[in-house]
Symmetry: C2
């Protein structure tokens, strides 16, 4: 079953008291540089520090009471893990989170803070999947995939509903793309609410599976992705890809250098913390990849979680 605006609107009604309505910020300095009007939707200020709170909360609160009683499970080392743990805690049910045993202490701590039950495994995709499958078999927990799940995609689409409610006159809407959960939701919502809007996915050149899949017309999985944007290393899924094919106008790629420069510019000018993945859409403006002159451009800043010990522009030692 595909994703629809109706499902996204239902998701919004379901989750809106459990998430933040994040602000839309503007910057006269960045507008002047871009010669356009930019509207930044600040999901870095979202609960758990990323848009992932939306989809996880929708999925958890869609479960029947009987399903919910057995809890939820996922394998993730990123924002989805913390988001699922938080949503489960809000519903008062267990969340089993399979994490690789090399996941940083900060990431484990974020999951634990929300009461998630961490199950460590070897740091391979095979070990993560088998550990998670065994856990689901043992507990009867509902598996909530980080992105390739219509319930999750519907939740992520609420970002665009809010942004277009605040700024209905947008001409373009830019969203990062990794597994496509956010982009698919944003594209369905955006195009359904405003057919004239141009939806652009932006992806690191070092993890350009969505760009290549979109061109080829079939999923080309990500192999050995190399990018600082750690939220965008996944491959498109069987639920996200068809929505992206149908509703997205264009996918563009950006260099690592532009991602770092975009992140630093937003920190310096806007005084807000965004993670590398969130800097990717603005990097497309720095590379002058899009025709945005005098247009109104929505830019989704997807999250703000990163290890502040190791900033990408810090001068290397020695």
């Amino acid at each position: 079953m595909g994703l629809t605006l109706a499902l996204i609107r239902e998701a919004h009604a379901r989750i809106k008291d459990k998430i933040k309505r994040t602000p839309v910020l503007t910057s006269a300095t960045l507008d002047a540089q871009a010669r356009a009007r930019l509207f930044f939707k600040c999901e870095n200020f979202q609960k758990v520090g990323a848009f992932k709170a939306r989809g996880a909360t929708n999925a958890v609160f869609l479960l029947s009471d009987e399903e919910a009683r057995r809890g939820v499970a996922t394998h993730s080392s990123g924002n989805h893990a913390a988001a699922l743990a938080r949503a489960a805690a809000l519903r008062g049910i267990p969340a089993h989170i399979v994490m690789p045993n090399n996941a940083s202490r900060a990431k484990q701590a974020a999951v634990a803070r929300y009461g998630g039950r961490i199950v460590l495994c070897e740091p391979t995709l095979a070990a993560r999947e088998s550990t998670c499958a065994r856990l689901v078999a043992d507990t009867g927990a509902a598996l909530i995939h980080p992105y390739d799940d219509v319930r999750v995609m519907a939740g992520q689409g609420t970002t665009a509903v809010e942004l277009l409610e605040s700024i209905p006159e947008l001409d373009l809407l830019l969203c990062p793309v990794g597994g496509g959960g956010h982009l698919s939701g944003v594209a369905v919502a955006g195009k359904s609410l405003k057919p004239s809007i141009r939806i652009v996915g932006v992806e690191p050149a070092g993890a350009d599976d969505a760009y290549r899949s979109f061109k080829a017309g079939h999923i080309i999985p990500s192999v050995n992705p190399q990018t600082i944007a750690d939220g965008l290393r996944s491959s498109l899924g069987k639920h996200t890809f068809p929505e992206i094919q149908r509703y997205v106008d264009e996918i563009v790629t950006v260099s690592e250098e532009s991602i770092v420069r975009a992140m630093r510019t937003i920190w310096e000018v806007m005084k807000i913390i965004i993670e590398p993945s969130a800097a990717v859409p603005y990097a497309a403006l720095l590379e002058d990849k899009l025709n945005i002159a005098d247009k109104r451009v929505g830019i989704i800043l997807s999250g703000g979680n990163l290890d502040l010990d190791t900033l990408p522009w810090a001068k290397p030692c020695g």
Copy 2:
């Protein structure tokens, strides 16, 4: 002539279309840690990235047309320099900014971006003052002191007017103190608008001239201040000190370690960039220096300008 609420209200009417009304942010996480309700007034989002835009703009727009024609001057290597340059540009008059010849290129660039005319001098207070005095004599420019000037203090006080308009039920109001321009304005506005409010100045222990002066009842100048909070190294002035004596309830000091920890906590939890000076009030909460249990506490985040190359918690090389 002393500072009054009437002067601050006039300042607000004068400048409010030329500055930002900055947001007041809250954090459920920080509230839970503090066991209080915290309201952060975000002057890091102010024009030029600091509250200094308020006072400089008020001073520049208070000049008569004849005075204004000859321009304004100051000596500063910090946020006041950029703020004065911007205010002068808004009025279409020259701003002469004396800066030490070791001022960072970033700080010079900020002044130049707003059209300020930079005059470099030797990096001593004597050279700065004599260069500025000569410049004022040569040009007839109006000297606008960074803080010890009632016009500037009135402008800075508008921060508290806005904060109390947004959150009238505040019990305490915490403000950093360096030369006292901000604290004096905030204290006059806060106490005049709400006599029951407790006004607390917070100062680095390594630059505790305000703390000692407040105790002694006379100005004890700052000698060789040692603090990362570069905006708070100045001494109180003859205009700021009497207002602080009259309207401030308490001055507390905090350690360098607490300042750095406060700054990092606000970055990590709130996802906003603040400079070290702006972290000083929250550091007093981390040190448990104030009785704030269940109280409503206004905290002024005074600015967000710093060199992102050299973060205070970065591990040293080697």
